[in-house]
């Protein structure tokens, strides 16, 4: 039976098939091909596995994983993240003192963010069932450790000791308050990222490994371009991303050049029962046109079905965009502290070292007011800010400084969310720090008991407060009452934000402490050394 491969990369033609009639793998020319990958390469399962593994190894070679690092591997249950874990395990050596060639001593922590309770109201029994399935899949990759399952509402954990139920309720309120589907999806993406960052910090990890594959990246490129977020786009799709600055974990995406199909076949070939489909937020809408992200996904997938080169064209174009300094692998490894891990120490010291490094680096940079290693980021979406945005924020911050009045009476302060906060004048994790935001009109709206240069003026609507530390895109949605939705709802809560002035203070939903603390951080950074901010 002849098999024709069309030069445009469309599917291989051939009538019926059977084992004797299958074409041979184009790589090894021996085993029968089982899958068509890339632009028309029919390969066997061994060569497919080798191809996928090779790409992850290349990422390692570029600096994604350095010796002695502690890596948080984020598992969603999809083929790509499970395949990534399997690939990483293949070059992790179990014995750091006797390294065989090509292996690297890494400590892995596997984490899964659970949304079953929040999205589908799953009972503990059902949640446990899903966890069992997921753990079985993770075990099938060869991972022998324990997977941590963390509910998404944990992102609301701050110094207030709120219960799980209270955190869950806050998450629900937040999601319900954002009526625009695109904005809701984006907000959840940001919350997941916040949570991963928080967990990685808490566990002393220097890297977060995400399983985003080529398709996900291509969809992200189109969706973000459609939303007018082209400036930050190259930062999001690079192999390494250390935007959160010195001492914070860097994000790596070793699967970004692998197609979902390859990952799916890889898992099948290795006996990993993937994908495991788990309920996530937000609840899916009936109409795919509700969401820019959904439209972008449909678009890419539809085109790809007819023209397999689409994804690569999108990726090639997007990777031609200039990346940021924190995307450079060497710089990224410096920033996250990975390159300072010296082999030969005992493990105890290594685990402490990243923390010490973090504190030292932070002190250096904060004390000197140098922001060159820390690009100012939007407090909501973490996008790097453009020079115009920075100028605008500085202008509004300076003018707000002129307007501020100091009020010694208020002792309530923003609860620290556990991230670095030196030199800010003695913050306590006060009693219910959210209160001050829920009713900014009832107290004096001053965030600190002692005057600080970065105080937001009293009686500033929360929307404007957040807008004072966000990118143009977020700011539009935060302050424009008639905006088609997005993060404006974040502030307006269940207020019907069709039109009209900013809402009453007591109807305001409170964003997580992590976003607010980033806002404070940003103000501090900008006002401490405005001249040195990298443009």
């Amino acid at each position: 039976m002849r098999v024709y491969v069309l030069t445009l990369g469309t599917s291989v033609e051939g009538g019926g098939r059977g084992p004797g009639q299958r074409a041979a793998c184009v790589k090894c020319k021996a085993a029968p091909a089982v899958v068509l990958v890339r632009l028309g390469d029919a390969v066997c399962s061994s060569c497919l596995e080798a191809g996928v593994l090779g790409k992850v190894r290349t990422a390692k070679g570029k600096g994604a994983f350095l010796p002695r690092e502690k890596v948080l591997v984020a598992i969603s249950g999809g083929c790509c993240s499970l395949a990534m874990l399997s690939c990483i395990l293949s070059f992790v050596s179990s014995d750091p003192t006797r390294l065989s060639k090509g292996k690297v001593a890494l400590e892995l922590v596997v984490v899964h963010i659970e949304e079953g309770e929040a999205s589908a109201g799953l009972s503990p029994g059902q949640l446990e069932q899903h966890r069992r399935e997921l753990r079985a899949a993770v075990a099938a990759t060869g991972y022998s450790g324990v997977m941590e399952c963390v509910p998404l509402c944990r992102v609301f954990q701050d110094g207030t000791h709120a219960s799980h139920g209270q955190q869950l309720e806050r998450l629900h309120k937040l999601v319900r308050g954002v009526r625009d589907m695109t904005a809701c999806e984006d907000l959840l993406v940001h919350l997941r990222q916040h949570l991963l960052l928080q967990l990685a910090r808490d566990m002393g990890c220097t890297k977060i490994a995400r399983g985003d594959c080529a398709g996900t990246v291509a969809v992200h490129v189109l969706a973000e371009t459609a939303k007018g977020r082209g400036y930050s786009l190259p930062a999001d799709i690079a192999l390494m991303d250390a935007r959160f600055g010195p001492g914070a974990p860097a994000v790596v995406m070793p699967m970004r050049e692998i197609m979902h199909k390859e990952a799916a076949f890889y898992c099948r070939s290795r006996g990993i029962p993937a994908p495991i489909s788990l309920p996530t937020l937000p609840p899916e809408s009936e109409n795919p046109k509700d969401s820019i992200n959904q439209l972008a996904e449909d678009f890419v997938n539809s085109l790809q079905a007819n023209l397999p080169s689409v994804m690569f064209t999108v990726l090639r174009s997007a990777t031609a965009l200039q990346t940021f300094d924190f995307n450079d692998p060497e710089a990224a490894n410096q920033l996250c502290g990975a390159s300072t891990l010296v082999p030969g120490h005992n493990q105890q010291q290594q685990r402490r070292q990243p923390e010490q490094q973090q504190q030292q680096l932070q002190q250096q940079h904060r004390g000197a007011g140098q922001a060159t290693n820390r690009h100012p980021l939007c407090s909501v979406c973490s996008a790097p800010l453009t020079s115009q945005e920075v100028e605008q924020l500085l202008a509004s911050a300076h003018s707000s400084r002129a307007l501020q009045t100091t009020t010694p009476s208020s002792d309530q302060q923003e609860g620290s969310s556990g991230s670095q906060k030196e030199g800010s004048g003695g913050r306590n994790s006060g009693n219910a720090p959210q209160q001050q935001f829920e009713e900014p009109c009832s107290n004096n709206g001053v965030l600190h008991s002692t005057p600080q240069p970065h105080n937001l003026p009293p009686r500033m609507p929360l929307a404007a407060a957040l807008a004072s530390g966000s990118c143009q895109s977020c700011r539009f949605y935060l302050t424009h009452p008639g905006a088609p939705g997005a993060h404006g709802q974040l502030i307006q809560g269940s207020h019907s934000g069709d039109a009209g002035p900013p809402p009453e203070c007591d109807d305001v939903e409170v964003p997580p402490a992590c976003i607010l603390s980033r806002l404070q951080d940003l103000h501090q950074m900008l006002l401490a050394a405005p001249a040195q901010v990298e443009t």
Binding site: V12, G15, V34, A42, S76, G211, P275
Partner: protein, 98 residues
């Protein structure tokens, strides 16, 4: 003719929450059972909800992988691939992956 239809990656939710379906397809004179025909048949007879999540037009929704006996259907003519007794057709959803 007996074939097995396997649904994974959340697709089982559209098919009565069952991952594996063993079905009997009636032999009609002359007309062979191709994957395309089976997909239509599955939509008519097995699908319990949201047909737009399974199919688009005459084929599966883009983003759904189809395997015939663990091999990529693109190697055997996608919709025109002919099935034989005892074959397994697997559907894997790659949407919302990662």
């Amino acid at each position: 003719m007996k074939v097995k239809l396997e649904f994974s990656g959340g697709m089982d939710l559209l098919f009565g929450n069952k991952k594996m379906h063993e079905v009997e397809l009636a032999e009609t004179n002359g007309k062979r059972w191709t994957v395309g025909r089976v997909i239509m048949w599955a939509r008519e007879n097995l699908l319990t909800e949201r047909p737009e999540l399974f199919m688009k037009g005459d084929s599966v929704r883009p983003g759904i992988l189809v395997l015939v006996n663990d091999c990529d259907w693109e190697l055997s003519g996608t919709l025109d691939c002919e099935l034989q007794d005892g074959d397994t057709v697997t559907f894997i959803s790659t949407l919302h992956g990662g």
